[in-house]
């Protein structure tokens, strides 16, 4: 097995080749993704830009150090990554963590994002460290019948997790001791104690990027201000965001229905045609809705406690001095909502550490 430092260097070389401007394979994958209407060009570009900025040697070394990567040779497990993509390249971190750990990567590529990730994996396979059998992927889970795995990484709703486990078992891919890293958090919360233009711009990006579909997307805002107080600024920011990033997917008639319902119960709301901001009335049964609640830091903590496993991240505006009781060390800058660092922890778990520690 290659040393961790060598794996890391080889991956950096792969990433450099993958993100090179003249990589025709990646360009083709982007075109296919956009042409097939999986994601908008603007969202794909954003996703790649974030990775380009984050995937530096310095950041990867730092992640490796925190995870204890350089303290051991690595693991030889077979890790199955089930990629479910609500946004482009959402499974990239799992694939990278698996490869860094030394494990063999077996991927089920997302049906919603079939082109992008394989272009990176193909670059990895060109290195001396990983052969074809070390890095393999399929587009149908059934094609992995009897492929035994030591660990499974995936994200799902609480309802879907048992069904995924059952499927893995039915496909005879499980062995005694197969471990699962499942993530169920599906939305994020922002505390808005500042209302300057830059903060509202970050907030809007956090809400509307990827059509609000990521688990890092902000679904709930808690603020000392009422929604009505910021109505005009929020509408203006949404318009400015969509001018540059047209929303790829438009909501069905349910959004208009929710709007009419809110009117019927006289709830304050901001109708943005393709998105709806509303005061309270929390019902996380549909996308494209942002919930606004007037409150302070205590309120954020209460809501986060109440929704515990559903909340991915809590954001504070850059420079904010607010402290969320009980979550003092778990908040993230609002500006990073849609630009996470490469070592961010889905559901609070560092994937690389988990792979290394639980092998």
């Amino acid at each position: 097995m290659a040393k961790p430092e060598d794996r890391l260097s080889a991956l950096i070389d792969s990433i450099d080749r993958w993100l090179a401007k003249d990589n025709r394979h990646l360009q083709r994958a982007i075109t296919q993704t956009v042409d097939n209407e999986y994601f908008s060009f603007e969202d794909v570009r954003h996703s790649l830009q974030v990775l380009n900025e984050e995937l530096t040697r310095e950041n990867l070394v730092s992640w490796g150090e925190k995870a204890g990567l350089f303290e051991q040779e690595g693991i030889s497990d077979n890790v199955l990554c089930l990629h479910a993509g609500n946004l482009p390249l959402v499974g990239f971190q799992d694939a990278l963590a698996t490869l860094l750990s030394g494990a063999r990567y077996t991927g089920k590529i997302s049906t919603k994002d079939p082109f992008l990730l394989p272009t990176f994996l193909n670059e990895v396979k060109k290195t001396d460290i990983w052969s074809g059998s070390d890095v393999q992927w399929v587009h149908r889970l059934d094609d992995l019948h009897k492929m035994l795995c030591d660990a499974v990484l995936f994200a799902g709703s609480e309802q879907s997790v048992p069904r995924v486990k059952e499927k893995i078992s039915n496909l005879e891919m499980e062995k005694p001791g197969t471990r699962y890293l499942t993530r169920t958090a599906h939305f994020s919360v922002a505390y808005l104690d500042q209302q300057d233009e830059e903060t509202l711009k970050h907030l809007t990006e956090g809400i509307l990027r990827y059509g609000g579909k990521g688990c890092r997307s902000i679904a709930v805002v808690v603020s000392p201000s009422k929604l009505d107080d910021l109505r005009d600024q929020l509408e203006e920011q949404a318009g400015a965001f969509w001018k540059v990033n047209p929303q790829h997917e438009t909501p069905g008639g349910f959004l208009e229905y929710r709007w009419a319902y809110n009117e019927s119960v006289q709830r304050k709301q901001l109708w943005l045609e393709d998105f709806l901001y509303q005061e309270e009335g929390f019902e996380f049964d549909h996308d494209f809705i942002l919930y606004w609640k007037q409150g302070d830091e205590e309120e954020v903590a209460e809501l986060a406690d109440q929704w515990s496993h559903q909340v991915q991240s809590i954001y504070l505006p850059d420079g904010s001095e607010s402290v969320i009781p009980g979550y003092e060390h778990e908040t993230e800058p609002l500006s990073e909502a849609q630009a996470p660092s490469i070592d961010w922890k889905p559901d609070g778990v560092d994937t690389l550490s988990w792979l290394l520690e639980n092998s």
Partner: protein
């Protein structure tokens, strides 16, 4: 010319609405089976559009008015969650009833509240409705409803009280949860030449069987489960539960029936030994596309169940439930549990999709 026509149209609507709003005998009208359901539903829609301010605001926002509605499918169905947030009453000023139904719920759950302007309509809906399916004169009503008994505002308990009170034999009653059904009591029913119609929430009946010996109810008796299969204690398939109930109460599997009702509805539907429910004549169930709730789905397409319950004439008759189900051409419907949206924010690896 155009303004003249518009004026005439408005006057016609005004005349109709005046007639409609002054209608005093809604209870006769909605149960009158000589009038087509569609006709009655359109009348009720006009009445509620005009006199139910919550529903009016809802329709108005969707640009739906009596003038744009010519068939049932055009009528917007109001989300039942509204009963948890606001008072949904038609003719608020005229409301003098002290009957209010509340759904059960834990302290941190908001409960649905259904104010009843005219309890006689509910009474009539219960008795006239069930007689469409069962000969009450041949039956004694027993009820096993632990949990519900503690909710004094339960519409189910109100229904069971109504059914028990109509029985003149005095043999109809609630079963004490901690008491075994006595053979003598069963015999008394048999001696009167009657059968038992045993009502109970699914978990209540199952609990009863877990804690007591099996019994054999008189031949032709019915075990009627009223839903509530998913509890904090257990979750099981309907089929499995019915099998257990049949065995435990000594009836044929086909004698285990189901009732569909909810706090927000004043009418019921019954499934008589199968998965398909039949509605009472003044209730119609339709399915709607969850992504586009104004669009009706075809028969056998899975969607959100919509309810048109004319007995709700004084609250809201046009409701969109959170239940998943399908309908068929003869009006029967099936329920598949609560609608769980799959495609929410965040990544969700779905076995069927992926």
């Amino acid at each position: 010319m155009q303004s003249c026509l518009a004026r005439i149209e408005n006057e016609v609507i005004a005349i109709f609405l005046t007639t409609n709003s002054t209608m005093q005998n809604w209870d006769s009208y909605i149960f009158d089976e000589t009038i087509h359901f569609e006709e009655k539903a359109l009348q009720v829609f006009q009445y509620q559009y005009e006199h139910n301010e919550v529903y009016h605001r809802f329709c108005e926002t969707l640009n739906v008015t009596p003038g744009t509605v010519s068939e049932l499918n055009h009528i917007p169905l109001y989300p039942v969650r509204g009963f948890k947030e606001v008072s949904i009453l038609t003719d608020k000023d005229d409301a003098d009833s002290d009957v209010t139904f509340k759904s059960s719920g834990t302290s941190d759950m908001r409960r649905s509240i259904h104010r009843i302007k005219d309890p006689e309509i509910y009474r009539k809906s219960i008795l006239k409705g069930i007689r469409n399916f069962y000969n009450l004169d041949e039956m004694v009503i027993w009820a096993c409803t632990p949990g519900y008994n503690e909710n004094r505002d339960s519409s189910l308990i109100w229904m069971l009280n109504t059914l028990i009170e109509q029985d003149e034999t005095g043999l109809s009653r609630y079963l004490p949860v901690d008491e075994q059904i006595q053979l003598d009591d069963v015999k008394k029913v048999q001696e009167k030449g009657k059968k038992i119609l045993l009502f109970g929430a699914a978990f209540g009946l199952m609990d009863y069987l877990e804690n007591h010996e099996s019994v054999r109810l008189p031949r032709g008796s019915i075990v009627m489960e009223t839903g509530g299969m998913k509890t904090h204690r257990r979750e099981m398939s309907r089929e499995y539960m019915h099998k257990k109930l049949a065995k435990g109460f000594g009836v044929d599997r086909l004698q285990v029936h189901s009732e569909y009702g909810m706090t927000e509805m004043l009418s019921q539907a019954y499934a008589q030994g199968g998965a398909w429910f039949t509605s009472v004549p003044w209730l119609r169930i339709i399915t709607k596309d969850p992504a586009h709730p104004r669009q009706s789905l075809d028969h056998y397409e899975e969607g959100l169940l919509g309810v048109i319950d004319l007995a709700n004439v004084h609250s809201c008759s046009f409701l969109l439930t959170g239940d998943k189900g399908q309908t068929r051409k003869d009006g029967k419907f099936q329920i598949f549990g609560r609608w769980n949206p799959d495609n929410l924010r965040g990544c969700n690896f779905l076995v069927d999709y992926e």
